[in-house]
């Protein structure tokens, strides 16, 4: 009985992990297959679909997506840090309500936020803001709560005695923020910014309303294309952007070392 049960457990675990990895493997294989028939034999594989990516059809949306993600990540890092600082460090009165407001966009589905922003821009006569500016604003609304929450958590974990120790050694408030608080919450700040970057780069539900011809992000370009064809070039686009994301995370990690957070780096 026990053996049967643990056998079932291991089998189901393996099946579930296979379920999780299957589509990823299939996409990688598809991106290397010579035709739309997916093949798993490496002898037949080709890089031609990746070569096809070097065209403005794919490069322009990619560059726009990167540009937006970088701006969104920086702005939500700064705004999130300001909000988290006031709430978690200064602990100004009403900080719980303030935090609740900063996090409130999380309670609203993305598609609803998207509709609200596009209706707002349209009915306020701000059509011109559709495209890049609208995308940036929308994505910031989306990512700011995550950034604020991550930074606030690392400020809460920050040992207040370190601040007092610096104060008794004569450090002014600005000096303490600059030399004690910021270095210690850097991992939280960077993980918030990385998160913002990924969310913005991959976003669909908001972007779908905010793009305009000529100013379309990469995921939207891909899904528009997908409605007509399942060309293997799409697989190549997807794999390439996954590699790009992984590289970015790696770079952010090198810069901010947020994995140190897991090992108690901010303590």
């Amino acid at each position: 009985m026990n053996r049967l049960l643990s056998g079932l457990f291991w089998i189901s675990l393996c099946l579930i992990l296979a379920f999780i990895t299957l589509p990823l493997l299939v996409v990688v294989a598809a991106s290397l297959s010579p035709s739309s028939m997916v093949t798993f034999s490496p002898a037949d594989w080709t890089m031609k679909w990746y070569a096809a990516l070097w065209a403005s059809k794919w490069l322009d949306p990619f560059i726009l997506s990167v540009k937006i993600a970088v701006i969104v990540s920086l702005v939500s890092g700064v705004l999130g840090a300001l909000g988290a600082y006031a709430v978690a460090y200064e602990k100004c009165p009403g900080s719980e309500a303030i935090m609740a407001f900063l996090l409130s966009p999380l309670a609203v589905p993305q598609i609803v936020k998207g509709v609200a922003i596009v209706l707002f821009l349209s009915s306020a006569g701000l059509y011109t803001l559709l495209g890049t500016p609208g995308l940036i604003a929308g994505h910031i609304v989306l990512t700011l709560p995550f950034a604020a929450r991550m930074i606030a958590t690392s400020i809460y974990n920050f040992d207040k005695n370190l601040d007092r120790a610096a104060q008794i050694l004569g450090a002014s408030k600005w000096q303490r923020v600059r030399h004690i608080l910021l270095p210690l919450i850097k991992p939280g700040l960077f993980s918030g910014m990385t998160f913002a970057f990924i969310i913005s780069f991959n976003n669909i539900p908001l972007s779908v309303f905010l793009v305009r011809p000529g100013q379309t992000t990469l995921p939207i370009t891909v899904i528009n294309y997908m409605e007509y064809s399942l060309d293997p070039v799409l697989a190549a686009v997807n794999v390439a952007s996954l590699i790009f994301i992984l590289t970015t995370i790696f770079l952010f990690e090198k810069l901010g070392g947020f994995s140190a957070q897991i090992h108690g780096g901010s303590k």
Binding site: L13, F19, L24, L82, A107, P109, V115, F120, P205
Partner: protein, 293 residues
């Protein structure tokens, strides 16, 4: 603080200091007000307008409640989200249990496998499922080649395809929710039950399942809400025939250019989410109290 603040000379200084504390909040508040609070308010306003004349009207709400197609879409959304919630929670449980209890070096690998797909974005995964499930896709090709079926099974562009795709998208979140909960159960409690004579099955029934109910509920909740508000997966894997609230909203904006109707649908979706989150939160606190955990 309150004692000093009555009418001593220190009071103005204090007030100035307190105000200064709020200054860093201005930029994030301004952004959220302008691009979140105001737009949501305007959307609510627009939902009460007539699509043509922009006069005050409850017409769109009336139509939502009476149009059979829309109501069908609402129920389809709920059915789809419920199925996804159940599939995700059932599949997440063994993985979360393994991650919570294992000390082997496989743990890190399984954790990476379980969470990493989240980085890949929804498009990649949906694309993967499309080439697996479509009529001339992977699974159907294999089935036909094996001679098991003569014509392709309808795996994509329907409820089945969307539930598979969404389960894949939401699964990592279900795993994380259950993982937190199972990690909170002292492994010694399971050992204690075992040494008292409980078989593996009894340990699961009497100890593990009751104690992880809060995690199960939060996994169901997060899966339901994520599925109900998902846009890209139903749009791509559901096709033109399988419409849910999220895809119907974008249709209203982009094809019918009926803003009030889109606003009404968005508000219904929002209210549905808030109601479920609220009710779920209540259930969770109640369970925590009842289970004494």
């Amino acid at each position: 603080m309150t004692i000093v603040a009555t009418d001593s000379p220190a009071a103005p200084a204090l007030r100035r200091f307190a105000l200064r504390g709020y200054v860093p909040l201005f930029p994030p508040f301004a952004v959220l007000l302008l691009f979140f609070a105001v737009p949501i308010g305007m959307m609510i306003g627009i939902s009460f307008q007539d699509p043509k004349t922009a006069q005050f009207s409850l017409g769109s709400y009336q139509r939502f409640l009476t149009d059979g197609l829309i109501i069908a879409g609402l129920f389809r959304t709920i059915l789809m989200s419920g199925l996804v919630a159940i599939c995700v929670t059932v599949m997440a449980y063994p993985v979360a249990y393994f991650l919570a209890r294992s000390t082997s070096r496989w743990r890190a690998i399984v954790f990476a496998l379980a969470i990493a797909p989240e980085l890949a974005g929804v498009v990649l995964r949906t694309y993967g499922w499309l080439i697996i499930l479509e009529d001339r896709g992977f699974v159907n090709d294999a089935l036909i080649w094996l001679g098991l079926v003569s014509s392709p099974l309808p795996l994509a562009k329907n409820l089945f395809g969307v539930v598979v795709g969404l389960t894949h998208v939401v699964l990592p979140f279900g795993i994380l929710a259950l993982l937190t909960s199972i990690q909170g159960i002292d492994p010694n409690i399971e050992k204690a039950a075992q040494i008292l004579g409980a078989s593996r099955l009894s340990v699961i029934r009497h100890i593990l399942l009751p104690l992880s109910i809060p995690g199960t509920v939060s996994s169901l909740l997060i899966s339901f809400t994520m599925a109900a508000s998902a846009y890209a997966t139903p749009a791509l894997l559901g096709g033109a025939r399988f419409k849910v609230l999220a895809t119907m909203i974008s249709e209203q904006i982009m094809f019918y250019i009926n803003w009030p109707m889109a606003a009404v649908m968005a508000i219904v979706l929002l209210v549905l989410m808030l109601a479920i989150t609220f009710a779920g939160g209540r259930v969770e606190t109640r369970l925590h109290k009842k289970l004494n955990v």
